[in-house]
Amino acid sequence: MSSLQVDPLQQVETTCGTLLYELQIIWDEVGESDTDRDKMLLELEQECLEVYRRKVDKANRCRAQLRQAIADSEAELAAICSAMGERPVHIRQSDQNTGSLKEELRKILPQVEEMRKRKSDRKNQFLEVVDEIRNISNEIQGTMECISSKTVDEADLSLRKLEELHRQLHALQKEKSDRLKQVQDHLYTLNSICLVLGVDFKQTVSEVHPSLGDSEGSKNISNEIIEQLAAAIQKLREVKLQRMQRLQDLATTMLELWNLMDTPIEEQQMFQNVTCNIAASEHEITEPNTLSVDFINYVEAEVSRLEALKSSKMKELVLKKRSELEEICRKTHMVLEADGAIEYAIEAIESGTVDPAYVLEQIELQIAKVKEEAFSRKEILEKVEKWLSACDEECWLEEYNRDENRYNAGRGAHLILKRAEKARSLVNKLPSMVDALASKTMAWEQERGIEFTYDGIRLLSMLEEYTILRQEKEEERRRQRDQKKLQGQLIAEQEALYGSKPSPSKPQSVKKAPRMSTGGASNRRLSLGGTMLQTPKPDSKATPHSRPGRKSDRMHQIDQLNCNPDNGFTALSTGRRGLDVAGLPIKKHSFGAREVEPPMMRKPFSPISSTASSKTNITNFSEDLNTATTHSETIQKALPTSNMNMPFSTPLKTTTTSVADEENKTPRAMPIPVPSTPSTGSVPMQTAMTPAPPPIPFAANVVEQIPEEIEYSFEELRAGFVLPKTHMKSSMIQV
């Protein structure tokens, strides 16, 4: 049996032989004819062949399929290799057939698998790169819709291609970073400009593109944005340039004004940041807000303030120069012509039609001219002054001569006499003086071809007038002398009729006319009168009520005042101006007080010798005179005899007045102040009934009337205790 199993074909052959043998047996039995038998056998043979043929066909087909698969795989492999740009792997050398087809296929299939895998990897790489490229290009293009369709070319997945793509990607990445940088730069520039201009950076940027506003968000780096940014920068830069120009103009103006007006450094310091940029170029101005609208307005305001100041100063200067001019004219007694010119000039300056500097120059020119003229006039003017003062003296002399009492020996009379003497000699020189002056003036006029004016009046005419007047006066005097002589005769003849000498008539108005500026004489007289009044000074001790004790002093002063009424009071009354006549009575008082006040002081309670005169008593009084006890004033009226006792600081009393001491209303018994013997009879007190307790009218009045006086006890004085009040006085004054 085992052999059967080993060879099935043999087995099949055996089975076929047996089956044939069986069939012959069957056929023999059946007795089949040979033909049938042959037929049957042929049939069987044919059927067998058929089966064989079918099987071979199948096998053949299978082989073809296998071959096809191998070929396909090989082709795919080749394709992949070529796509990836690799050398194709030749597994099967054309001639040497290494194995069966199935082996071959088995060999080739993993290769194909691997290559497929590699290919997909490669493709993924490509896809990545391409994706990136697309993203970047999208960013750069600034639009999202384009080149999304770009796909990977399957056919070419070679490394070369990949490299190429990578290069492309790199290029794009670089461009992107460049653009980012550019945008950043632009933004930075924009920011700095905005700062300088004082413009809100965020808002400006948002206007360019909303996305630029967020500092953290992804930056848009498309061409469009960059262009817009550049445009914005350009625009702002122009603005900056404009403003810079403006500021620099302002700064220049400011500097000029400072220079002109010597503006103090402190004031300049505030605008140092403006002026320091005066020559800066655009890129040098980086300080924030230097060019903001507010700042420029601020600077503008300052400049306009300075300008206003300048114009006012200018005006001031013009006026000053003008007054200088007037002063010179006044001093040299010239009349300033074209009076309205300056007023007009001022108006013109105010309205801005004329440059103040020009006006100033004009005035200065005028001043120079006037000065020059004044210099030439100087000599003559001096002579004129001399002449005029001589005229004054002449006037005074005339008045003096008319004074009947001029030889009364009052105070200062010798001075007046001396003056009169001098005046007489001066008057004698007057005609020659006038002549000399006239000839000098004429020479001057001839030299210059203009008239010499004195305060607008021609000097020559003044001189002429004076000479005429003088002649008239001379005439008058002569006539008077004649008349006097006549009168003298008349008086001598008819003394009984007239009784006394008639006063000489006073030709008062004779002298007044020719004098232009001669108030001097009367002024001088006034001051003379003043000295006779012994220079009254206002005195703090001036009390309107003077004490009776000083009456004699006062009377004496009044006498003194009365003794020379001519020199004192008349001088004052003739004073036309400058002296306050109303102040006179006060002054009179004040100097009463001065004379009474001797510098002597005495401490309270120190015993005074009885020989001390009443004068010292008064001295003590005056100690508290300045605190003016009006109270004691009233007491004095009531008790005139006891007035010495009033202030406590004078503990001195006369025994006679103590009888009338108002405290002791009732007359008391005989005072026995000497010590008594202890053993003998006691001594009665020097008592007196005191008034009823509550109000003591005198004392109460005292306390109320003098609230500002603070009394201190000896202890307080010794301790240096001072009441913590401001109004008190440290002097010890009892009520």
Partner: protein
């Protein structure tokens, strides 16, 4: 009248203060003498034995002092303080302060309170038994119209004399306001005020040699009794020189009183009979303070310049204790007509 030379001024105490004596007082129990001075000290003497028993130094001139009992006393100073002095231990503590120098002090046995008067224009009452610390010792502060110059007590009555010649009379049991507000009858600054021992009134002296005798009762009959008299004056060639009357001291038994003036004299007066009883011989300088001992047998006289004429050379400050004869202080009945 014949002039009999007055007896010797008395025994001078040794160790007197080195500067002006502001006050001196005899104890109510013994012959101890408490003396306050401008030399910032308070001294306790045994007057009968002439011994300095103790000394307290203060921060400023001591303007017044008084006894509490024999073992303690009080002092007030220009440094604004009110102090309690304990003699046995020689210790002192500050009862409290005023806002200005304190001028005078009195201890009331009736109220058990210490009364101080100051130039800060207030009167303050203190309870010296209270524990230390101003919150507990200060009983009350009473505003015065002016700086307080002098105080005097009798029973429950307190008389306060101030600058501006005000006189306030208080009842110690109701210090909220004065019982009477008066004005000095004298025209010049008050120097000293002392109550009569019988409690009916007070004597008030002024800087102008004059003493007023006043009565508390306001009835017309009482007020009719009041009067003032001149004293401490010198008559010289028809002129009076007046001196301040610095001190008044009543005799504890007879009710007569002594006055001391800047003339250096001490006079003893009988107020009822309006008589001067005695004049002691002149002391070297102003009489600044006077005090009778408890039984009236001794009179302490502080002869000490009171700076009435400012700083000037003057006699040394000294304390005299003299025995008092009855005849010098006993009132003499009026001679019947």
């Amino acid at each position: 009248m014949t002039f009999v030379p007055p007896p010797a001024p008395g025994r001078e105490l040794s160790n007197p203060p080195s500067d002006g004596i502001s006050n001196l007082r005899f104890s109510n129990l013994s012959d101890h003498l408490l003396v306050s001075s401008w030399d910032k000290s308070v001294r306790l003497y045994d007057a009968s034995a002439n011994v300095l028993r103790g000394e307290f130094m203060h921060g400023g001139p001591v303007l017044d002092c008084c006894f509490h009992d024999d073992s303690s006393g009080f002092s007030v100073s220009a440094d604004h303080t009110v102090r309690r002095l304990v003699f046995s231990s020689n210790k002192e503590d500050i009862l409290g302060r005023h806002e200005a120098p304190v001028r005078c002090v009195e201890y009331s046995y009736a109220a058990g309170q210490l009364i101080t008067g100051s130039w800060d224009k207030t009167l303050k009452c203190w309870d010296p038994r209270g524990a230390s610390g101003q919150d507990r010792t200060l009983v009350g502060t009473y505003a015065q119209p002016e700086r307080v110059y002098s105080l005097s007590l009798v029973g429950n009555r307190l008389v306060v004399a101030t600058a501006g010649r005000h006189v306030n009379v208080y009842d110690l049991r109701n210090m909220s306001q004065p019982e009477q507000r008066r004005e000095s009858s004298l025209k010049y600054q008050t120097r000293c005020v002392r109550c009569y021992p019988n409690g009916t009134g007070y004597a008030l002296s002024s800087v102008e040699g004059r003493v007023a005798m006043e009565f508390f009762e306001l009835s017309e009959a009482s007020q009719a009794k009041k009067y003032a008299f001149k004293c401490h004056r010198k008559s010289e060639a028809g002129r009076d020189i007046v001196y301040p009357v610095n001190a008044i001291a009543f005799h504890p038994i007879y009710g007569t009183f002594a006055t001391g003036g800047c003339d250096g004299f001490v006079n003893v007066w009988d107020g009822n009979n309006k008589k001067r009883l005695y004049q002691y011989s002149k002391y070297p300088t102003s009489v600044a303070a006077l005090s009778f001992s408890k039984d009236g047998r001794l009179l302490a006289v502080a002869s000490s310049y009171t700076y009435e004429e400012g700083d000037k050379p003057h006699e040394p400050d000294s304390i005299f204790v003299r025995s008092v004869n009855e005849i010098e202080v006993k009132p003499k009945p009026k001679v019947l007509p």
